[in-house]
């Protein structure tokens, strides 16, 4: 399931969706949140822009690749857009499988590719004004392990 939405998400409900099949033996979930600092700035909130249509396709493609690579029961990606306040949830990635290794790997794979390939852009509100977040080399480097 892929979802790009303004609304917050309920981790409990998404977890239940990951566990619907009785062959699920391991579930891994990741939640990204708005934190109070980034790249040396005090952050008070975020604005997330996306490219409607292309963003969803990019996430579908990443999910497709993860499913081809590991035997997954369910894979869920939810990413929020619009104005987000400090401590709010930004992104959810959850993977369920018969065994934990597939679920752990799929979750990391999806996050690594999402951070490099999915058209989302963060603008931070900081104590000294607004700034677009710059892409980081460590995120590009993270793809090398796959």
């Amino acid at each position: 399931m892929i979802c790009v939405q303004v609304e917050d998400f309920d981790v409990g409900k998404l977890y239940d969706k990951l566990c619907r099949s009785s062959d699920v033996g391991g579930v891994v979930t990741f939640v990204g949140r708005v934190r109070d600092f980034n790249q040396g700035h005090d952050v008070t909130g975020l604005y997330l822009e996306h490219y409607p249509g292309m963003t969803e396709s990019a996430l579908e493609e990443i999910a497709h690749q993860a499913k081809a690579r590991w035997p997954l029961s369910e894979l869920i990606i939810v990413h929020r857009v619009g104005e987000l306040s400090l401590t709010e949830q930004i992104v959810f990635v959850g993977a369920s499988s018969a065994h934990r290794e597939a679920a752990f790997s799929a979750c990391q794979f999806v996050m690594d590719f999402l951070k490099n390939r999915a058209p989302f852009w963060k603008k931070e509100c900081t104590t000294t004004g607004q700034r677009w977040v710059e892409a980081e080399q460590k995120d590009a480097d993270a793809l090398k392990r796959w």
Partner: protein, 80 residues
């Protein structure tokens, strides 16, 4: 007609999110060069931006555009 869209910091630098261009025989590289010739902000906004055609990232900018294509320029992505 080719639709050209801009996102995030690229959009803000250019002060527009949408352009329509009549010339449909350009390559992606040709379109980028044509837009950059509009001025300093355009050069700053587009010189290093990523580009997608019909919502797919472009690997070869020699690709020729055809009428009805949607081209998008944007900075490296920062979601997650």
């Amino acid at each position: 007609m080719i639709t050209v869209r801009f996102f995030a910091s690229t959009r803000e630098l250019l002060g527009t999110d949408l352009l329509e261009i009549e010339d449909a025989s350009l390559s992606v590289a040709g379109l980028r060069a044509k837009l950059i010739s509009h001025g300093a902000n355009w050069e700053r906004g587009l010189a290093n931006s990523l580009v997608a055609v019909n919502q797919v990232m472009v690997a070869d900018e020699q690709q020729t555009l055809i009428a009805g294509d949607e081209v998008a320029f944007f900075p490296p992505v920062t979601g997650g």
